[in-house]
Point group: C2
Chain length 352, copies 2
DNA sequence: GGCCGGAATCTAAGCGCATAGATTCCGAGG
DNA sequence: CCTCGGAATCTATGCGCTTAGATTCCGGCC
């Protein structure tokens, strides 16, 4: 007992067996009041703190769930003085941050501990996601944050929810969000209210199921209006570069429809830099509904998705599928709704 | 092996002992290349995921640190449709959210797993903080989130950093922030640039060390200017109520100096509701520099503190004090800087 | 070919807790 | 006072892994 006190120390001090100590903490009603008191007193006197590793090992469960996410542009290391001058809304909160918040809220509500992990400098042979997976009873992972084979492997042991699922991980569930209709309604607005005809889509069309859905909604609306659908401007490697190319060719469309708010904000930057008026000369729209889009100038028209609800739903799915581990439905009921939000960048709402 | 594969299963399949399997993962250089490959192949084939509980138990360390925080106004349970209509900046991110982000960033950088826990419906006799403490190698706790005696107890086992320390927990460290001079400089600004003479402080004067520092800086500046320092308007129980009282008595000061942005925002609400012009009739200032203060109307003059750096520093302190567990310095070098941010609510910057 | 020493591998002993199953306690009933 | 049965408590074991210390392997050397 030189080090940290254990059940043995508490038991000895209280004059009972370790089993009784264990019961005192986990099933107090099984222990006589008097015994309980003496155990708790001994524990308090010794400063006993139950060791969760031992508990987890013995029970086979940890009582925690995990959230595995990106290194999303987080390498920003800066000193406090820089931070004091910063305008942080372009960095935080972004989409994953709000989803994470939803996860946190739901865990809190259910009394679950939440273990956060993220990619990057993993320790050993396996991705760091495996490390997190070994610590929890269920795992939520952002698509792309972890290798698919690692997730597949993990899904054989514990319930997994993949957010924004790319390749559907075998045995994993996902949270459905109605990206398609949100994007369709946004484009319909652009067609009807603003009379736009020349569209350029910025972002990847395929890849994750979400990307595909968004592009699908875009294509649906255009097709219904009899407008041919051009391939998207891939924004991945050098985001600015592609947009600049479109500018250089002097082939500005009526509107840039972007797959995400973050991409749209980059487009806005490039256009501002080039002296192109938004929305006067060209409109720009995003997707997600992050705070930065409300604060940009012009404020960004977008499609808002219930990011917090995505996180909450993920936790519920996890808990649910842990309960009835029998059949593994891949999907989860009704998709969460999305909603176009009209701001200045599409030409709605005049500047004050 | 009906359930989850263990080292035994991997060892059997690879034709080695469990020790070799263990070495293959933790000290690969100790194992011959050929052996290593066969172990990893077996592990992959079986879908082996190391059990962190067992590892933690055997090693005596978990490799994770914990962050324990408030239930800060988080009981907001709402459905996705409500969320789509929400203006969330009054809820997120607040002070603890940004600090948490700093903690996350630093953990990520160091390859530490982060365990999140928070008060509320605890499981058993002890606060939930003990549950979290049992899972980690070090704990960061917001002051007030956990009972002091529980923290004291925990600090006997693992390093603890208390943020915004109230009663100094024995053996715990804390992150120092220079609230005092920030507040002093803000008040000096109000005195010199705006000529305010009649001040009302909103918030608690004592309690946590931080509160005391803030009020101290306020008092310093007033005293230096020869202005008597009235006791603060305690804002705790019914925040609006107290401010309303000040209004009702028609004794509006020149400026409400609030201890936090959140309190200042409430004051702004009450004043707006009462039709009192800010900053025309009375000025209002806050403290912290949360995003909501930038978005309020009028935008809130405040003192910004480097919240993210607070989180990062906390992690560093933890890692540091885990390393040299010998002497326990209670403090941590130079305090982090703070900086007044002048916006409209104090009368600076005309409305566009 | 036999011997030697370091590298590779294995054996065995916990780590702190939960929990079947065994044992003891204790009050009620006879 | 004795018996009986449920409640209270205890004994014993295992959870999956790490790691001293023991053992075996193997190439180089005499």
């Amino acid at each position: 007992m030189a080090g940290k006190p254990t059940v043995y120390d508490v038991a000895e001090r209280a004059g009972v067996s370790i089993a009784t100590v264990s019961f005192a903490f986990s099933q107090p009603q099984r222990v006589r009041k008097k015994t309980l008191d003496s155990v708790l007193a001994a524990a308090a006197a010794l400063g006993y703190v139950p060791n969760a590793s031992a508990r987890g090992l013995a029970k086979g469960r940890t009582g925690a769930i995990g959230l595995y996410s990106f290194d999303h542009l987080l390498e920003v290391e800066r000193d406090p003085v820089d931070e004091l001058r910063a305008g942080d809304e372009r960095l935080f909160p972004l989409y994953p941050d709000v989803v994470q918040r939803g996860v946190e809220l739901e865990c809190r509500r259910r009394g679950l501990a939440l273990m956060l992990g993220s990619g990057g400098a993993g320790a050993g042979h396996l991705s760091a996601v495996v490390d997190v997976a070994g610590r929890v009873d269920g795992l939520i992972a952002f698509a792309g944050a972890a290798p698919v084979d690692a997730l597949t492997r993990i899904a054989r042991r514990i319930p997994v929810v993949e957010l924004g699922g790319e390749t559907r991980v075998t045995g994993a569930r996902t949270v459905l969000v109605d990206h398609r209709s949100g994007m369709r309604r946004l484009v319909e607005h652009l067609l009807r209210e603003h009379g736009h005809r020349r569209f350029t889509y910025v972002g990847v069309a395929g890849g994750t199921a979400e990307s595909a859905d968004r592009f699908g909604g875009y294509a649906d609306a255009l097709t219904a209006a009899g407008i041919p659908v051009d391939p998207p401007l891939d924004s991945r490697p050098g985001q600015e570069a592609t947009t600049r190319a479109a500018l250089a060719e002097a082939r500005l469309p009526d509107v840039f429809v972007c797959a995400t708010d973050q991409e749209a904000l980059v487009v806005l930057d490039v256009l501002r830099e080039a002296g192109v008026d938004v929305p006067g000369r060209v409109a720009v729209t995003g997707f997600d509904g992050i705070l930065a889009g409300r604060l940009s100038s012009p404020p960004l028209t977008t499609v808002r998705q219930p990011m917090e609800a995505v996180g909450r739903t993920a936790v519920r799915l996890l808990v649910h599928s842990a309960a009835e581990r029998s059949e593994r439905s891949e999907e989860a009921g009704t998709p969460l709704p999305t909603e176009p939000v009209l701001r200045r960048s599409c030409g709605c709402r005049p500047p004050r």
